[in-house]
Amino acid sequence: MTDLTRKTTIAGGLALGLTMAGSAMAQDVTIRWALHPGAEADAVVNYFAPKYEEETGIKVIGEILPPNQLRDQMSIEAIGGTGRWDLGYHSPGWFGSFADHVVDLTPFIEEHGFDVDAYPQLVIDSHMKSDARPGEIIALPTTPAAPMLIVRRDWFEHPEEQAAFQAEFGRDLTVPATWAELRDVAGFFTRDAGESLAGETLDRAVYGWADALGAGAGITRSFIVVLYSTGVSGWDADFTPDIDNPIVVEAAEYFVDLAENTAPREAQNWGFLEGLDMFRDGRLATATMWPQGVGTVEDEAGSAAGNTGYAPLPVWEDNIAGLTQGTPFLGGGGVFIFDTPNSEEAFKFLKWMLQDNEIEWGKQSEQFSTAGHFASEELRSLRPYYPDFLPAYEQVLESVFIRQGIPEYGAVMWNGTTEFITDVFSGDLTAQQAQTRWVNEMTSAFRRAGYIQ
């Protein structure tokens, strides 16, 4: 064997070895993702993960956790440093719990050319940045979402209903533009079995409005969108609570009245989207709907399919922030990357899924957030109701509240809202008493955290 042959053989062997080792390493990478249940999780598990493995050899395992355990389990694993997941579900309201455990994505974004500007500024501010990690990009949005109002368009347009409404309220029956109008409309449509509605005698009672009112997250999510629509933020730049404003009491009393008099009693068992079945089945005239529920509402087996109107939530008249439409918090979520050895591989997967396959992500997950999603003719024509739904939803996202990224957000605002509205709704405390208690708790928490003296 000549020297050249020997060198060539050694180099070839080395190259082969390195290639095999590289391939073996790629094969060994397994990205694990803690997912919130929903169509987007199904899309990851059933579509994107197998496709990515097919293309790159890198395995992605999505673990779908119950919504009410997701944060707890993720934070316990993060605090314990177990490295169980490389990717975690990011809710801006929870981020304080994870601020010390996730990587800054800025270097990856620059290296791999992720286009941050593809997202609306409010989504960037809410789902990609956080006060807890200033100057960094800490997550990528996957399912930013905010609720909207849905109405039974056919009932609103029915001549008998229009005439009856005109006779009772002295104005046209239209999609409510204010919360006060919603109360009138919801009361108007709340009817017992045996009464008639849109020319038909009802077999079962129909309710004017509904949202999830179940203990804990249900009623909190439902009320907090009303609360933010009043223009309160929770606290100002100096951490002085603004929830002591009388408008909070007004909102609570309004909400309790709406929930008690126009919503079905069963709603007090609902945690999120369960009640949309009632809308689908023709038992609700209006409802607050998160976009994940549009498939249920438009289910062809129900009577609401093709008869549903979509609109932003009503405006709170005289709100203290000058808002021009109902302003819920920007909820839904994104994905952050835990500080694990797989962090860069995990980012590459996310970039491939969310940006290289932007429209496919919209199709598979039925979640829309980028300008590309709303501009896509392919997406608009995907479902018969998307031409109505998507523009309305795009409008919803133009006015949303960006939750503050402080670690105490969950305790002082989310859980504070839970306790406040639970006390008022149950009658344990008056709205004023519950408000005073909430303000004191918030002030005390900020004092303990050292934000105020």
């Binding site: 707890d72 179940g214 009693r265 670690p407 989310w414 149950s426 344990d428």
Partner: protein
């Protein structure tokens, strides 16, 4: 001689030492850690920053009307479960022990099913199949007879009682098992003597069976008290602590503080007060139990 006596005294301790160390590690460590956290400001979102606050968390807990409310609800829940479980347990055991009852093993096995069922599964089953307003068995029966169809789990007046009954359903088999075993140890001669003296079934239960069962009642009660006092999953599955706070027992209150509020200092404070309350109740019961055994002896 003295050394031998000392050896004799210490030898036993050497045998139980491994068990003691294990128990101290398993029971003592979390207890100590829980107590330690209760004296600190500990938040899940900043877990490694723990500031010593002394008894401040206890002061805050006792000053919080929600804590007092949870304590009250826990007491009602626990007492309700004890009364129903012990009462029904005695009744079922007494009926099973009757001479006329055939296939006792089968009945016993049937009665044990609720006890082997996971509480959360039992809670979900009762929520959807028994208490549900529209299709629940209870309302089906009530409406069949022309009665109302209440929202059992959504009404503040009925939700707590619904959770008590459901949890008692889970605990009754334990009581039945113990009482049935105890009943079989009562000599037939006592029943014979009662019958000779003209005692009917009720008088026999009251004057013969109950006095004989007294230590067992105390034993079952303490087991049920400790179980009901810290019950979480059954109530969580049924009502989540609602409506309002009408079924927010201490364990749910602690969970809310610790997980929803991320305030592990307060959650451990609540948990530790639960431990203290239970320890006192258990001590009282054990003292009473020993006294009862002493009286019997």
């Amino acid at each position: 001689m003295a050394a031998s006596r000392r050896d004799k005294f210490t030898r036993g301790w050497w045998f139980i030492l491994p068990g003691l160390i294990l128990m101290a590690a398993i029971v003592g460590t979390p207890l100590f850690m829980g107590f330690r956290y209760s004296l600190h400001d500990v938040f899940l979102y900043s877990f490694h920053t723990q500031n010593f606050v002394g008894l401040e968390n206890y002061r805050r807990a006792f000053a919080d009307p929600l804590y007092v409310n949870s304590l009250r609800i826990t007491a009602i829940f626990t007492i309700g479960c004890v009364i129903i479980s012990v009462g029904m347990g005695i009744l079922i055991a007494f009926l099973l022990n009757a001479r006329q009852v055939k296939f006792r093993a089968m009945w016993m096995a049937l009665f044990l099913i609720p006890f082997v069922m996971t509480p959360v599964v039992g809670g979900i089953a009762w929520r959807f199949f028994i208490w549900q307003q529209e299709v629940g068995v209870l309302n089906q029966v009530l409406t069949f007879f022309g009665g109302p169809a209440p929202y059992w789990l959504l009404d503040r007046e009925t939700a707590l009682w619904a959770t008590i009954i459901t949890n008692s359903w889970h605990l009754i088999p334990l009581a039945t098992l113990v009482f049935y075993a105890a009943l079989t140890t009562i000599p037939d001669e006592l029943h014979e003597a009662g019958r000779v003296d003209g005692a009917g079934p009720f008088q026999s239960l009251w004057y013969i069976v109950l006095p004989m069962l007294r230590p067992h009642i105390l034993f079952v009660s303490i087991i049920i008290i400790t179980s009901a006092f810290r019950e979480f999953d059954m109530i969580w599955a049924l009502t989540g602590g609602g409506p309002g706070r009408s079924t927010t027992v201490l364990s749910i209150f602690a969970y809310n503080r610790g997980i929803a509020n991320q305030d592990m200092g307060m959650a451990n404070t609540i948990a530790f007060t639960m431990f203290i309350i239970m320890a006192v109740v258990a001590w009282l019961y054990i003292t009473l139990y020993r006294k009862t055994l002493g009286d019997k002896a």
